[in-house]
């Protein structure tokens, strides 16, 4: 039998930060240091833009050599040292109008204020056949749907921790798991990547673009081609295709239109990183800007945390009185 999870949200946090990159980690650092009970919900160290960067040379004060993952880890450790909590989960849905605000990930959570710092690695568009065959072999959750593909071949599209982890999950059910990676090297935890690469049921197709999910009423195959070179397209028969691809779109899908977005799909935030909903703030690459740099995202995270602090302490209308300082 599966384990029992109570599934009820515990006591509300003061602040939930969605996303643990430079914006989210800095927001958590400032909020926790201000004494607020703070939770960061993040998909994984290598799931964001900074975490993927192989080398960081221009972050002030961090001369290196260090990787993006090193820098993110250091930011998180610093936030955790002030009491911020971190969980590795994917936020699925939120209710930002409720009091307290509700956040559903693998577990439900609640908080009085929320900072959205989900970055901009969302997918822009679907592959032909993907939407049409959703629920008919196309899935975004191997953990949920793996059992439906017992004894059948499947494909997993993606190159990050999530993709590799879910591909490993599928090796328990499927006869063959084809990993279709957009990059020639996996951008995932090395141990996980190695485990998958050496798994007898796994076949890695590196540096490929998924062109189409094939099938009439259910998935029957997937068509893909190498991104470079003159290799011909390939079609392999599969019963399921699991998508974990990333792009350059601000990640706002879990909001289901609760906040306005710009034409480019970015969240809109004001001078103090506030959104149109009280107690909800946005920082980092999910907010449109000309300079998508970690140092800018971190600064915005600090601004969002301080604005959240004012909101949480009921001082959002107050301004510093510089005349008496």
């Amino acid at each position: 039998m599966e384990s029992i999870s109570l599934g009820a949200a515990g006591a509300p946090y003061d602040l939930i930060v969605i996303g643990g990159g430079p914006a989210g980690s800095t927001a958590a650092l400032y909020a926790a240091r201000a004494g607020h009970r703070t939770l960061v919900i993040d998909k994984g160290l290598a799931s964001g833009a900074l975490g993927k960067a192989s080398q960081i040379v221009n972050y002030p004060g961090a001369k290196g050599p260090l990787t993006g993952a090193d820098l993110v880890r250091s930011m998180r450790d610093q936030a955790a040292s002030f009491g911020a909590e971190f969980v590795t989960e994917k936020v699925l849905r939120v209710d930002l109008k409720a009091e307290p605000k509700q956040v559903w990930a693998a577990e439900p959570y609640q908080a009085r204020a929320v900072v959205i710092a989900t970055g901009a690695l969302g997918r822009q568009q679907h592959v032909p056949g993907e939407e049409r065959l959703l629920g008919r072999g196309v899935s975004y959750c191997a953990t949920c749907d793996g059992a439906f593909f017992q004894g059948q071949p499947v494909a997993v599209a993606g190159n990050n921790d999530e993709a590799v982890d879910e591909a490993l999950t599928m090796t328990r059910f499927a006869t063959k798991v084809h990993l279709l990676s957009p990059t020639t090297e996996l951008e995932a935890n090395e141990e996980l990547a190695q485990e998958l690469a050496s798994h007898p049921k796994a076949a890695l197709h590196l540096g490929v673009r998924v062109l189409e999910v094939l099938g009439e009423n259910r998935v029957e195959g997937v068509r893909f081609a190498a991104k470079k070179g003159d290799q011909e397209e390939q079609t392999i028969p599969v019963s399921g295709v699991f998508f974990y691809l990333q792009g350059t779109q601000p990640i706002t899908d879990f909001l289901y239109d609760q906040l306005p977005v710009s034409e480019g799909g970015c969240l809109i935030a004001g001078e103090y990183r506030e959104t149109t909903l009280p107690g909800v703030f946005a920082a980092g690459d999910v907010v449109c800007k000309h300079l998508k740099q970690s140092v800018v995202a971190a600064a915005e995270g600090a601004q969002a945390a301080m604005a959240a602090d004012r909101y949480l302490s009921g001082r959002e209308k107050l301004r510093p009185d510089w005349r008496h300082s």
Binding site: G7, G135, F148
Partner: protein, 218 residues
């Protein structure tokens, strides 16, 4: 060995501390040809033991057929969660893993008899004239599924015309085949309309409206 460890049982006790009214967990089982009936029964009895306002009633699916029919139970293991009245809240298959939270939510909803829903949803339900049967297919390892089940159950509490079932897809493979379930949550309404994923309330209501209109025309 109990299914709920002592820490979990204590958590359940706190969660169900004030139900607002008595709730019956009416369970149908049998001792053969039912893989998880014994575990489901143990779970129901252990949950019922956490609150004086909760009672477990165990029936045999074959010998108590009349009772099963009266509650519309057609497969096992089955749990009907019944408060001051029968709101049509059902669990088919064991509500374990992430679905245990759905069971607790259903118990609380049945106890209070109230459901927090958006104004548009309430208006839709008040205008409803045709019965709606919502089946939410789930797996216990699906973190997305519980919110779909809880929403369906809230609709059940809010309207006598709505029946809302959780169906654990891997325990009822024939239904998974019948309703083409290859991903969860998959919500099937009146056998005619279906919906993928854990969607916001307004989107589910659009689909319910579609099913109600189809029912009205038939």
């Amino acid at each position: 060995m109990p299914i709920l460890d002592s820490g979990t049982a204590e958590g359940v006790k706190q969660e169900l501390a004030d139900l607002g009214g008595p709730v019956r967990l009416v369970m149908f089982t049998q001792e053969f040809e039912c893989d998880l009936c014994a575990e489901a029964r143990a779970l129901v009895e252990e949950v019922a033991a956490t609150s004086e306002q909760l009672a477990a009633e165990i029936y045999n699916f074959v010998t108590d057929k009349e009772k099963a029919d009266s509650l519309g139970i057609d497969k096992i293991p089955a749990i009907a969660v019944i408060g001051a009245e029968d709101y049509g809240l059902r669990f088919y298959g064991i509500p374990s893993g992430y679905e245990f939270a759905s069971l607790l939510a259903a118990i609380k909803a049945a106890g209070s008899g109230g459901a927090h829903l958006e104004d548009d949803t309430v208006a839709f339900l008040q205008a409803l004239r045709e019965p709606l049967h919502i089946q939410v297919f789930v797996t216990p390892t699906c973190p997305y599924c519980q919110s779909a089940v809880m929403l369906a159950h809230r609709l059940g509490v809010a309207s006598r015309l709505v029946r809302a079932d959780m169906v654990e897809a891997t325990e009822f493979p024939h239904l998974a085949v019948k309703y083409s379930v290859m991903g969860v949550p998959r919500t099937v309404i009146n056998d005619t309309v279906h919906l993928e994923g854990a969607v916001p309330e307004a989107r589910l209501v659009d689909k319910l409206r579609e099913a109600a209109e189809a029912a009205g025309q038939s």
